[in-house]
Symmetry: C2
Subunit: 336 residues, 2 copies
């Protein structure tokens, strides 16, 4: 069967523990011994059995990434960034999708799968502040997204409010005064939707533009389809508008499509800006202005924090809240 430490030890003429020590970079080994062992490893093509290592040491070198849905370009790009950051640290990533709401999220969080991994990156979708106690266990975890603040776990997020304020201000600075907001979750205060709506309102206030509730378009699920449908409904109401801040790019793209079908010119009639800077925004017609949340930075920061928690399980350092930088990316949809 597979080569084990025993085989290597026999060939090199040392104990299995010495082989183990070589592999784990234990310092006190004579160069000659190290060489012998390494030669034997190469000759046999030895590969450590990760299950055994994990059983004995309690570390598997695998982390979980819990996201709502890979079909959503933002999460696919985030997953890509996380996997690159993780691989740079020698970690593998198990992705779990959780499209099924709160019950499923809790089930997955408590399932036996989570036993296998050293830590969890959890992009919270359904759980809210009131569920924070469910996370209050020993498992190293870093939260992404914006449903839970001041929770028991480290938290990495973009600056939602500031980002939305900057996006809105960007359209206002172009002279637009009837700026719609697409993607609100009515009644929600926390969560990306609530925070971004807050930023939208702040920007209006700063420019002295009166807030008009009829310009706020609610969309629960932030997919392209939902953005398209919400915009279609909004257009039938006939509310005049000359700008659109969409709370993510997918909705923006869906909405742009509907607006153009309806004969609206972008950016001439309506200037549009989205959120996330997904790849597609560079190639849509027109290309879409957006807020770049620095996905790479989010991923790297999150992996670093998680690794720290994994390596110092006893450190009861308080949970940290980190916000990454964002950048306005101006493209054709808000060209002057």
């Amino acid at each position: 069967m597979a080569i084990t430490l025993h085989d290597v030890a026999r060939l090199a003429g040392v104990s299995i523990k010495t082989v183990s020590n070589v592999i784990n970079d234990y310092p006190h080994i004579r160069p000659a011994t190290r060489k012998k062992v390494e030669a034997a490893i190469d000759e046999l093509g030895y590969q450590p059995n990760l299950s055994a290592r994990s059983l004995r040491s309690g570390r598997s070198g695998v982390i979980s990434l819990l996201i709502p849905d890979l079909r959503n370009a933002y999460f696919a790009e985030l997953a890509d960034a996380v996997m690159r950051a993780a691989r740079a640290k020698g970690l593998s990533v198990i992705i779990e999708q959780m499209p099924g709401g709160k019950k499923e999220e809790l089930e997955i969080l408590r399932g036996p799968r989570m036993q296998l991994v050293d830590g969890i990156l959890y992009s919270v979708l359904a759980l809210g502040e009131e569920d924070a106690h469910h996370l209050d266990n020993a498992m190293p975890m870093v939260l992404l997204g914006d449903r839970i603040f001041n929770g028991p776990k480290d938290h990495v997020t973009m600056q939602n409010t500031e980002g939305a304020r900057a996006a809105t201000d960007h359209l206002l600075s172009l002279g637009r005064r009837r700026v719609a907001a697409l993607g609100a979750h009515p009644g929600e205060v926390v969560g990306s939707a609530g925070l971004r709506l807050d930023g939208y309102q702040q920007a209006l206030a700063e420019r002295g533009v009166e807030y008009d509730a009829s310009l706020v378009i609610p969309v629960i699920s932030w997919h392209r389809k939902d953005g398209a449908e919400a915009m279609r409904a909004f257009l039938t109401k006939g509310v005049p508008f000359d700008g659109l801040v969409a709370f993510n790019d997918s909705m923006a793209l869906g909405a742009m499509r509907v607006m153009q079908e309806a004969g609206l010119r972008i950016p001439d009639d309506v200037a549009v800006i989205g959120f996330d800077d997904i790849d597609e925004t560079r190639y849509s017609i027109p290309s879409l202005s957006t807020i770049d949340p620095s996905k790479d930075q989010i991923a790297e920061t999150a992996v670093d924090l998680l690794l720290e928690r994994i390596e110092h399980p006893d450190s009861h350092a308080p949970a940290r809240d980190l916000a990454t930088e964002f950048h306005i990316v101006q493209r054709e949809s808000s060209a002057i």
Copy 2:
């Protein structure tokens, strides 16, 4: 620490082996005993240690999905489909990206990571027929994509040639006679590019349209950006054309964008059809006709085949080649 079989056994008043038997659905257990054990499991919240199970039984319940790049919508959607199919069978999925070419692919295939998983779904990108011997090992594996046929492993793919023929014929049936092909890999016979070019030529021949090499646009990497650049270069040549078969949707979308910038109307001046049926094609402007390769069917078939190989490691049944169905999806880009 974590609850083990010992804790459950103690509480239920049975041996740990009996608990293990209950968990593994061993048939000869008295209902009363089973009940006692299950009650103890529930009370303690016992969860099996997957590392120990994997070490002892050689099965981890995890499979690997090796794909080039999650940023590519086709692979993100394929990964989504695979993960849903895998979860339905009780499997977890570790995704590994391999953007780095042949050397990296072989490294990952041989790396210690692969030791942890029960089987591999491998969407071959860089490896070719000549590397097939590298796969000739005991690891259960199902190949996706079209670089390696008649290899040592099971293989699931779409009907590339037939799909391309249908796509091309679709444009010809609209009366187009100068149909360009975007995404060829010059000199390649096997692989999606080669097969699809073949189907393109077959369709031309069947309709009695002469093959014109100047209508074949080579693109090595099938991203949106590459499609856009290739189309830009093609337009400067001034070759007249009224139809475009793109070998995937991303390239088609990039090319559509460039064509529209150049003032070409779609479908009036150029009818376009792509490949993959990614979500975005429904919402692009115009929406993009495409060949739907039945990603769900590919994923389910591949997972089923893999599971079969995992469960019958000694069956030396010969490698199978399965092709899934495809469908033409007509949208605005090839509307009559």
